[in-house]
Symmetry: C2
Subunit: 612 residues, 2 copies
Amino acid sequence: MSTPFCRHVGQELFKAVSRPQRASRLWQALETPQISQISRPQKYSSRPFTFRTACRQPVSPIAPKPDPASKARVRSLPVLAASTGLLTLLFTVFQPVSHEPIEIPTNVSSSPSAEAPIDDGDGDGLPRYRLSEIKEHGAKSDRPWVIYGDKVYDITDWVGAHPGGEVILRAAGGSIEPYWDIFAIHKSQYVRDILEQYVVGKVHSDDLENGRPLQNAIEDPFVSDPKRDTRLRQITQKPCNAETPADELAESFLTPNETFYVRNHMWVPVVDETEADNHGITIELPDGEVKTYSVGELKARFKQHSVTAVLQCSGNRRNDMTRYAKKTNGLQWTVGAISCAKWEGVRLRDVLADAGLSLADPGEDARHVQFSGLEAYGASIPIESAIDPRGDVLLAFKMNDKPLPRDHGFPVRVVVPGHVAARAVKWVNKIVISDEESTTTWQRKDYKCFGPNETKQDWDKYKSIQVMPITSAITRTRLRPETRTAPPQQEPRTTASGRMVQIEGYAYSGGGREIQRVDISLDGGANWDQAKLLDDTEQEKGARTWCWKRWTYEGVLPEVKDDANGEAKTTFVVKATDDAYNTQPESHKSIYNLRGNLATAWHRVDFNCKNC
Amino acid sequence: MSTPFCRHVGQELFKAVSRPQRASRLWQALETPQISQISRPQKYSSRPFTFRTACRQPVSPIAPKPDPASKARVRSLPVLAASTGLLTLLFTVFQPVSHEPIEIPTNVSSSPSAEAPIDDGDGDGLPRYRLSEIKEHGAKSDRPWVIYGDKVYDITDWVGAHPGGEVILRAAGGSIEPYWDIFAIHKSQYVRDILEQYVVGKVHSDDLENGRPLQNAIEDPFVSDPKRDTRLRQITQKPCNAETPADELAESFLTPNETFYVRNHMWVPVVDETEADNHGITIELPDGEVKTYSVGELKARFKQHSVTAVLQCSGNRRNDMTRYAKKTNGLQWTVGAISCAKWEGVRLRDVLADAGLSLADPGEDARHVQFSGLEAYGASIPIESAIDPRGDVLLAFKMNDKPLPRDHGFPVRVVVPGHVAARAVKWVNKIVISDEESTTTWQRKDYKCFGPNETKQDWDKYKSIQVMPITSAITRTRLRPETRTAPPQQEPRTTASGRMVQIEGYAYSGGGREIQRVDISLDGGANWDQAKLLDDTEQEKGARTWCWKRWTYEGVLPEVKDDANGEAKTTFVVKATDDAYNTQPESHKSIYNLRGNLATAWHRVDFNCKNC
């Protein structure tokens, strides 16, 4: 491997790390994309992370520590085998854009902050550290450490290059493993090899149990999560994913904060209430200009707006698709991964304009607005959505007239009405105007729909879900209390056929399109009638119709013959139509996709006419 | 009926006629809405048409002519019986908004321009006129006449109050009956009663045959229509409705002008090429301010833009709905009531701004933009569509780099990309910014979709079709020439099963939503594959994707068993998905509506695998 080649790759890596978009592409090229949003660390300098080692140590699996100032500790470098391929890949992916030689820093220091007793029972030459010592190397220390297995790593020099950004510091002072359980992409030899470069010691044997750190010393990343309302239907606890109970969905136009569905990809970041107004959002324009606004400044300087809008997970009703088509991957939401609230905050477009973006002509480089949250989640929306004067995109501080609950983004979240909720980034702390989409897996992979037959997922083939298609659901069915008495000459009623049934539910379409008709069938779709749409328009706020339409229906149960099992079942069906006359597909099979996204087929609820 | 009451109604009528929106509502209240767009005539003064007679002649069916200056001719006034109910209705509909008394003109003159020989064989005291004399009272004469039956009417005083506006002059100098055949709403006693007020004579007996004017003297309203390309599939000749032949639809991205589908509601207005730049468009703002632009002025003063956009009739594929669901009313289009062209003209929003409309804040009164064409067709779009900076709504002069063909609106038409073509008014000569939709039947009735069960059509229940939903169609299927030879031990192939079939077609979604996936099934929807989308993006112009996506597919015909008739049929199916992941409904039954609008279900084409 020639020196010019190394220098070239180094240049590219250096550029990559010094420019988030490029770094993101790089990371993506490396096929380790779970956390691929590089933030520009303020405290940690960005450094290329494999170049130095790869070029200097082309052969030996055991190399001397490159930092002459540190103690003679040994680093294992199995990374090299991977690196060769990696560099080839980099060379293929990145064409040179500049031939200016750039000096690659080599004096990277990884020295631990304190002398440690050598407890080298294995003869590995590594010092041993007590968990209490390691804990001192937390997120706020000058030299953050993490534990993996029984080894201790000084990640100081890695933080700046970590594709997930400073979120890695969440693990500092303790074990990184609970986080790798969340960000499963890390569980690869490739990532372990990177980490291995930074080993500084081992956990002291007194703090090990069966060769691993004591369990009670490993912090649960979710330990600070808020308590949730018991009415929420929990699907996963860590991270919290919980849906609004079905029979409360259409109960009120605005979903109460306590029962608003929760979709967390990770833990809930902790922002102290007294510090909320100091929380900052960094805005980066395509020309590299950066401006930071505190929440307090946003509130004080920009006009506040109220918008009522539904948020809906792309996986809402996924369980239906599993049931009527076949197995889908992902959280098995029923009908409750949707809620409606009144949001209050400042318009993103106003803030972007203030930050220096031309709303009239954002320019070719300004095609997407990328958001990152405190917990490392990231996503983006097209620039047109962000600056649309009628788009109502907010940086929201309030939800239903109260400060945002922690689960919903305290102290500030993005709200993108009419779009999939996955773009409404919570705990937002960074906004980048870019020529490309956010490079996170949540933008580029998770939220897409392939054809019903497509098993090979070519991620670039389809667009990320943004504006949502139309859907509807039955949320409650009940028999109306019987008032008629069967004439005496008739046999007593054995089924509910002929009785009145009351049904209620919601219908919603994205893009600000209003629901204009909800069709109901009590016999599986053979005959139709129209539901009564509730008029909630007085509560609606915003330039377009961003809200759901609640509906009710009363109808007579059809006569149903007993089936082979002696059951008398019928199926209630709902389908809706919006003002662009979009309607729902009939079957989940026809829209099946492995991820179970956008399970918007007619909603069917089986109803047993006996034993009612 | 008291005098104050009459005065009040008079005031209301006067206001109504002097203000088009109000007059339109009035006309609608009278339930004669076929032609309900009142234009403000420049030549003919607007006058209330029933008040004078109704209040002055409350009882007698035969009243003396109110104009003392004219000859003592008798007018039958059966209008009165209707008028009493009418006035009650008016009183109910219009609450007084002003109590200022307004003088109602009474000296309306209806005298014929020339003395005529009395040929009073019937003793009716009416003069007789030769057809040649009547012809002199054409549209450009000071006193236009029309013939109805064998009677002659001087409509001079009616033109200003005619709800359809000056289009009535199209009939001047000849018989009005061919026009009533088009505008069938006129065929009522009520309308005949109005006309009867203006009788001035009868057709001379020498020009009558069986009591009616000689047929060759009755002008065909369509006599000046242009010749059409013989490749167009004519559905009706008068007016011309003709679709693009299926196998030419996906042949080119831009449909040639000659084979672009034609949807005319009436005749094609005649505008001389040398006069094209003098053609005027009147723009009326909510405050009543009126500004007129000539085509020449529009071209000279405003920046011209090119936009490629599909136009599609809401009835495209209606024949499918008839076939797969049940009978629908309306033109039985197959897949060819859709075409794509490059349009060139000025932006409507630029012109409206110039005319004085505030684009930033149009105001509460500016909710719709109503368009009228020379032939009396009218429709409207929401103000948001009209002024959307990314809406690309044009006043277009050119189509595929040539002047608009006469069939497509020469010299100027509206183009509203992403919306139903019924809003893209041709031969436009008037634009009114209003607080309400156009009151024409084409806006308020014809283009709506009711539920599959709804037989009673409550027209106010649903919104007019504007932005179009997603659709797709197969436009051509053919077997690929066979290259394989059956192995000698096999029987000769008796069906096409196993052979390659080539399919092509289009997919389109309204609202600027791009098609991102086209699914094809060769077995009726059991199995799916994806079509290849043709890349026509280089030809696309506009802020959003207003065009169709052409696609092709090659697949192997499935094995099909013979049916009871010895046929081996399979069904090809296409369905598309746009970038908001809207998709098509599966069956026409589920979206059935009596008018057969928006027949967007999966497109199915039966294919007989034998005898190929």
